[in-house]
């Protein structure tokens, strides 16, 4: 049975083309179309329903130490309000899911996990809990993402919230008046588009009113999951289940920056720490096509002797760059920006090159207060 978010009826009213994603009936695109939506987010401000993602709270003594066992990042030194992108690790050094963990109190963390991994993650986290810790699902909350250069002014003008002092990768818990009612919001300055913007956790009961209030602003249009994918692809952000998964390590995925020097005791550390020291056989890279065509997930990467040296894990057309891009894994000696390669699409070798990530610079704000 396909699940619905609190905004489902609103998507239908807005003319969305709906489709199944991670067990939810979600908007893929609206009448504006994928390219139009993508460009709107790059130039103005887009509203995404990401309520299918899981929201959980972990509370209790030792919560920071707990996250340092399940992820390779550091949490004990994080100030309340600070958000961290990280991954849940398996014993083999692979990735169970990627997620954002935000410290809300000395012993409290708010976490957003991928929709498709929700049940798996929660079961895993539950199985690892120490007696002092309690995990709570926030299934009664929706999650909206407002992304784009105008996001800050839209929040000010529609909700009367001044977020100008909230740094990137920080969260604030606040109240806003929506439809005449005081509503409790968790607002995080982050996202999946490379734009400045916010993710707003709101009780389901007020989600539609919040979305309507934001959409009433002339700078805001609703954006579907298809443009969300092309936006994140331009930023080189990995998509779980495609670009990162149980058989890819953070070092191979080239997200070693999430690892903390102070954390050497995380699950999988015995495999991942030596990788960081000695290197790995393959690395995640960006790929830019130099000829016409589109290469998607699964396309082989070949060298100039037509030998298979890697594969794409994501790929598509970049509306901002007007060219085809992708990401994938390639043997490490070729993982150098500018390296000429071929991607094989339906038996045809298309000229391409290894590209640094992101493909276009992110426009996110500073992390400093």
């Amino acid at each position: 049975m396909t699940q619905k978010t609190a905004l489902h009826d609103l998507h239908i009213d807005l003319g969305a083309k709906m489709g199944e994603f991670a067990g939810y009936d979600m908007p893929l695109y609206y009448p504006l179309g994928v390219i139009g939506e993508h460009e709107w987010v790059r130039n103005a401000c887009g509203l995404f329903d990401v309520s299918h993602m899981g929201q959980i709270v972990l509370e209790g003594a030792g919560a920071a130490q707990f996250w340092e066992r399940l992820t390779p990042s550091g949490f004990q030194q994080k100030a309340p309000g600070r958000a961290q992108y990280t991954v849940l690790m398996n014993e083999q050094g692979g990735i169970i899911d990627d997620l954002i963990i935000t410290r809300t109190a000395p012993d409290g963390f708010f976490t957003v996990i991928n929709a498709g991994c929700k049940e798996k993650d929660i079961a895993w986290i539950q199985s690892q809990l120490t007696p002092d810790l309690k995990l709570t699902r926030l299934d009664d909350r929706a999650l909206l993402a407002l992304q784009g250069v105008k996001a800050e002014s839209v929040m000010a003008q529609t909700l009367n919230l001044d977020l100008s002092a909230l740094p990137y990768m920080h969260m604030t818990e606040t109240k806003a008046v929506i439809d005449g009612k005081d509503v409790d919001l968790f607002i995080s300055r982050l996202g999946y588009t490379g734009e400045d913007g916010f993710e707003i956790s709101v009780p389901n009961a007020h989600a539609v009113a919040l979305a309507k209030a934001l959409l009433a602003h002339e700078a805001v249009k609703p954006i579907g999951l298809a443009a969300r994918d092309s936006l994140r692809l331009e930023m080189g952000y990995p998509l779980y289940g495609h670009d990162i998964h149980a058989q890819t390590s953070p070092v191979e995925a080239d997200i070693g920056w999430i690892m903390s020097k102070n954390n050497t005791g995380f699950i999988g550390a015995d495999i991942v720490l030596p990788q960081k020291e000695k290197g790995v056989a393959r690395k995640r890279i960006g790929v830019r096509l130099l000829e016409k065509g589109v290469a998607r997930e699964g396309a082989e990467i070949r060298n100039n002797r037509d030998e298979i040296v890697g594969a794409l894990t994501s790929g598509g057309f970049s509306p901002s760059l007007k060219e085809s891009i992708g990401q994938g894994y390639i043997q490490t000696d070729l993982a150098v920006p500018g390296q000429k390669i071929f991607v094989n699409v339906r038996g045809r070798n298309i000229m391409a090159e290894v590209a640094g990530l992101p493909f276009a610079p992110a426009k996110t704000k500073s992390m400093k207060k």
Partner: protein, 124 residues
């Protein structure tokens, strides 16, 4: 023969003697969304009925275009890879992807006419 013919896979065909002009219907275009590339067949390629001879790439996905008939590709629309939105034009005014010289035109006999295709769309 007169008029266009349609397949259940949303190809549309215009028959000009023993040449079939093949494109995709508006329904298929709408389902694909914004188009970014069309991969054309090579001239002289032998095609078989229900095998793909071209690929239409949209932002979201890649869709194969199937030949409605056995035959040989005699012309491909070279303007289309650089301007995929041409596919929205009427078949005879530039919306065709390729022209196929049919080896057995009777293979088209089972295809739908426009009215039947419209009815078919209501069932899917």
């Amino acid at each position: 023969m007169g008029g266009l013919k349609f397949t259940q896979d949303h190809e549309c065909i215009y028959v000009d003697g023993d040449i079939a002009w093949v494109g995709i219907t508006k329904y298929a275009q709408d389902a694909l969304g914004d188009l970014v590339f069309v991969e054309l067949p090579e001239i002289g390629k032998q095609v078989k009925k229900k095998e793909y001879f071209a690929v239409v790439e949209s932002v979201k996905t890649a869709a194969e275009v199937y030949s409605p008939v056995d035959g040989e590709v005699v012309e491909a629309n070279d303007n289309m890879p650089g301007d995929p939105e041409m596919i929205a034009k009427p078949l005879k005014e530039g919306g065709w992807i390729a022209k196929i010289k049919m080896s057995d035109a009777s293979q088209l006999d089972g295809l739908m006419n426009e009215a039947a295709y419209e009815d078919y769309l209501k069932t899917i």
